[in-house]
Every structure is written in structure tokens, then in C-alpha cells.
């Protein structure tokens, strides 16, 4: 009985504060759910959902097997001291030989400076395309992460540095094991590609932040000339570094991506941005 009284007292306190008032959704929930409702009756939908779940589990299992099998074999090869396929390839054709052969083949037709210029332009365009595609795919999340970068730049840089270093260590370890076996080579190529996704995202967030700073108002989810200018400016250093070497270009890319990666982590992938007082004021 006492428990029921306490229950009622508590309910009264909540009611007095207005906390028990019902909220109204801002959209018509029935209409929006109806638009997403499958055409088929529930039984069929349930069967399809079960099939999709089985498929998802099978794909996850396959991905784990694809990564674990060559990694384990690679680790085994390393322990037994078997020469890796990459080592064999490297000893057969050293990097210097490849470069000399390429130069010899191309310089017969083009001037070396023209080739360098083309490489710089191409890498600049590829980076620009990656940034524009990323921002086009995630306009809101990239803007939110960009605002986080403007709100806490030093924190983002620190976190980005640690995350990039951790990513580098993990990727290097995986690649070392995967390239120790022939079947690991395609998976290693995939790992290299996947490891560069956060880098592309980081550069895109950096471009977003620079674009927002240039435009001076928050938030803007659309492409404007400031954003294009920011993307072009951020893509330039790594492209110019290609004049020296590919590794210098990649190093520049990683350095430029760090603050953006940090902002992505801080804002949970742009879903929960950190906003400074002035930005949240401007958002209204």
C-alpha cells in the first residue's frame, strides 16, 4: 500500500513539473511508415527478413575467414622463415630497376617534366574527386564533423594523430602477415584500399571545415565555391609532393587527414557534433 502511495506521490511530482506531457512527433508517423512498409504480407516479409539475416551472417563469416586464413598462414610462414612472395618479387625487380625502365620507356616519347606535371595534375584531380564524392555522399555528417574540427581543432589533431598512428601500425602488421603468403596478396590489396578510406574521410572533413571557415556561416550542407576552393587547396600539397616521391605525397596526405580523422572520432562519425556556442547560435 505504501509503495502505491509513493508511486502516486512521485507521479504527482512529475506531473507538476510538466514532464508527463506527451510530445507530438514533427512528422506524420503513420504516413512515413506506410511509405516504408513492404508490399508483401507479414508472413512473406518475415521469411525474407530471416533469409537476409542468414545471408548477412554468412557474408560476415566469409569476411572473417578471408582475413584470418591468409593472416594465419602468413604468420606460420614468417615463423618458419619462408621467404615471402613480396620478397621474391622485390629481389627480382628492385624499385630502382622499375623506375629506370619506366623512365626509359616514357622519355622516348615525352619530356620528363611533362610526365611529372601530368602525375601532379592527376593526383590532384583524384584527391579532389574523392573529397567531392565523400562530401556529396555525406553532406550533413561531413558538415557536422567539419564544425567539430572548428570547435576543437587541437583536440581533433591529437586524437587524429593517435588514430592515424594506430591505423598505420595495425595495417602494417596485417600487411606484413598477409604478404607472407600468395593467397594473402589480394586480401592485402583490399586492406590497403580499406585503410585509405579513413584518410579520404579525414581530408574531406578538413575541406569541409576550411569551406565553413571561408564561408563564415554554419551550417551549410550544400556545395558552394568556398567548399570547392577548400577541397582544391587541401588536395594541392600532396599532389605537389608527388614531384619528389610517392611516399612524400602519401605522408603529406596522412598529415593533412589527421585533424579530420580526429574530428570524425570526436563527433562519432559526424553524428554527434561538438558545437561551439557561436555555431549553435547560428544554427537556429
Amino acid at each position: 500500500m505504501a509503495s502505491i502511495d509513493h508511486d502516486d506521490t512521485f507521479r504527482d511530482v512529475l506531473a507538476r513539473s510538466g514532464a508527463l506531457e506527451h510530445h507530438e512527433p514533427t512528422v506524420d508517423l503513420v504516413a512515413s511508415t506506410m511509405r516504408r512498409l513492404p508490399k508483401a504480407p507479414p508472413r512473406v516479409v518475415a521469411r525474407r527478413a530471416a533469409a537476409r539475416q542468414i545471408l548477412r551472417r554468412a557474408i560476415t563469416l566469409l569476411a572473417v575467414v578471408l582475413l584470418l586464413t591468409p593472416t594465419t598462414i602468413g604468420a606460420f610462414n614468417v615463423m618458419r622463415g619462408i621467404e615471402s612472395p613480396m620478397g621474391t618479387i622485390a629481389s627480382a625487380t628492385s624499385q630502382v630497376n622499375v623506375r629506370a625502365a619506366l623512365l626509359a620507356a616514357t622519355s622516348q616519347r615525352f619530356d620528363v617534366s611533362v610526365i611529372r606535371g601530368l602525375v601532379v595534375a592527376l593526383s590532384w584531380l583524384v584527391q579532389m574527386a574523392a573529397v567531392v564524392l565523400t562530401i556529396g555522399f555525406w553532406p550533413r555528417r561531413s558538415a557536422a564533423a567539419g564544425m567539430t574540427l572548428l570547435t576543437a581543432p587541437l583536440q581533433a589533431l591529437g586524437i587524429g594523430f593517435l588514430a592515424t598512428a594506430a591505423l598505420g601500425v595495425v595495417a602494417a602488421l596485417l600487411l606484413f602477415l598477409l604478404t607472407a603468403t600468395v593467397i594473402g596478396l589480394p586480401v592485402a590489396a583490399l586492406v590497403v584500399l580499406l585503410a585509405h578510406i579513413p584518410i579520404a574521410l579525414g581530408i574531406a572533413v578538413g575541406a569541409r571545415a576550411l569551406g565553413l571557415r571561408l564561408s563564415g556561416h554554419y551550417p551549410t550542407h550544400d556545395f558552394d565555391r568556398n567548399l570547392i576552393a577548400a577541397a582544391a587547396a587541401l588536395a594541392l600539397p600532396a599532389a605537389l609532393a608527388m614531384l619528389f616521391s610517392a611516399s612524400a605525397a602519401f605522408l603529406t596526405l596522412y598529415l593533412l587527414a589527421m585533424p579530420g580523422i580526429g574530428a570524425l572520432i570526436l563527433s562519432q562519425g559526424g553524428m554527434r557534433p561538438l558545437l561551439a556556442a557561436h555555431t549553435s547560435h547560428n544554427r537556429r
Binding site: 510538466g18 503513420v30 512498409l37 518475415a46 570524425l264
Partner: protein
């Protein structure tokens, strides 16, 4: 009684794939489902998305609904399980490919509410969000969805003694938080 029979008819028609019947069922429970999601997740935008997902799950599982049970408690059990699941997955939410930003501030609530009242209400919501999800679920079902202990047992599948213990702890935590926010001054009987 007539309403119950009517609901049974709507459920049967929905199981046969009648979308209009399912829309009527949704009309009846949209408010309850949205408010459950809002109190559990603490964000109106996310609650709208969650409510749609809950209704899609209800539709998918409708053929398995045991008509001996009350539809409302079955629906709320799907809703509260979904919200707890969503809270658990929140730390990995950033892995989704969706272009969603969850913390867009809501516009002002309108002139009819005083600033103090809004502040107090926000304080209750903040206090509620500080509760562990398992306690929050019971408190929301009891005070916001107005369910009896028996109905909460049906929704959660927990024994009544556990419900009472969790509710008592939830009340104590909420009362402490509300005193800290100066929403209540007096000692509440718990």
C-alpha cells in the same frame, strides 16, 4: 469489448497484408510508441526514426503475434526492446552509411510554456536519460505509458518483484537527480 473485437479484426486483416488496416492500428498507437521512444532515447528526431522502425518490426512479426495477449503490451514490448537495442548499438551508430546527424537542436517550444516549466521538464528528461536503460524502461512504462505492474511484466517478461525493485531504484535515482537540479526541494517518500 467492441473495441477489442475491432482491434482483432484489424490485426487479422493486417496479417493478410491489408495496409489500410495496419495504418489504423498505427494511428491508435503512434503516440504511445513515439513517447516511449522519445523518453528512452532522449531525442525527438531519433524517436521519430525509431517509431517507424518499431512499426516495421511489428508488421514483420505480426504473423507470430499470439492473439491471447494484449496487442498494446506486445507492441510496447517490441518498442522497448528496440529502444534498448538501439541504445546498446549507439556506440557503433557512426558505422552506418546514413547521412544522419542526431543532435540538431530543437526549435523553441512555443510561448505557451513558461521558461521555468520548460527548464524543469528538461531537468526531468535529463535525469531520466541518466538512468541505466533497464531502469529507464520500467520508469517510462510506469509513469509515461501509464502501465500497471502486470502490464509491465507482460511487456518486459520480468517478474513483478524485479519490476518493483527496479522502479524503486529508478525513483530514488530520479529523485536524487531532481533534487540536484532543484526541481524538487522536499524529501520524496520512496
Amino acid at each position: 469489448m467492441a473495441e477489442h473485437a475491432d482491434e482483432d479484426t484489424l490485426i487479422k486483416r493486417s496479417i493478410d497484408g491489408d495496409h489500410a488496416a495496419f495504418a489504423q492500428l498505427m494511428e491508435r498507437y503512434a503516440g504511445a510508441v513515439f513517447n516511449l521512444a522519445y523518453r528512452m532515447l532522449g531525442n525527438a528526431h531519433e524517436a521519430e526514426d525509431a517509431s517507424q522502425e518499431i512499426f516495421l518490426r511489428v508488421y514483420t512479426n505480426l504473423a507470430r503475434f499470439d492473439q491471447e495477449r494484449r496487442f498494446s503490451t506486445w507492441l510496447l514490448s517490441i518498442g522497448s526492446n528496440y529502444c534498448i537495442d538501439r541504445l546498446r548499438r549507439r556506440r557503433f551508430a557512426w558505422l552506418t552509411l546514413d547521412d544522419t546527424v542526431l543532435t540538431i537542436p530543437n526549435p523553441g517550444k512555443g510561448p505557451e510554456h513558461s521558461a521555468i516549466e520548460r527548464e524543469e521538464r528538461d531537468a526531468v528528461q535529463k535525469a531520466l536519460l541518466r538512468l541505466p536503460p533497464a531502469y529507464r524502461e520500467i520508469a517510462v512504462l510506469r509513469y509515461w505509458n501509464d502501465l500497471s505492474y502486470e502490464e509491465i511484466c507482460d511487456v518486459t517478461g520480468l517478474p513483478e518483484s524485479t519490476i518493483k525493485t527496479r522502479l524503486h531504484r529508478a525513483r530514488r535515482m530520479l529523485a536524487d537527480a531532481l533534487r540536484a537540479e532543484s526541481v524538487v526541494q522536499e524529501e520524496l517518500p520512496l
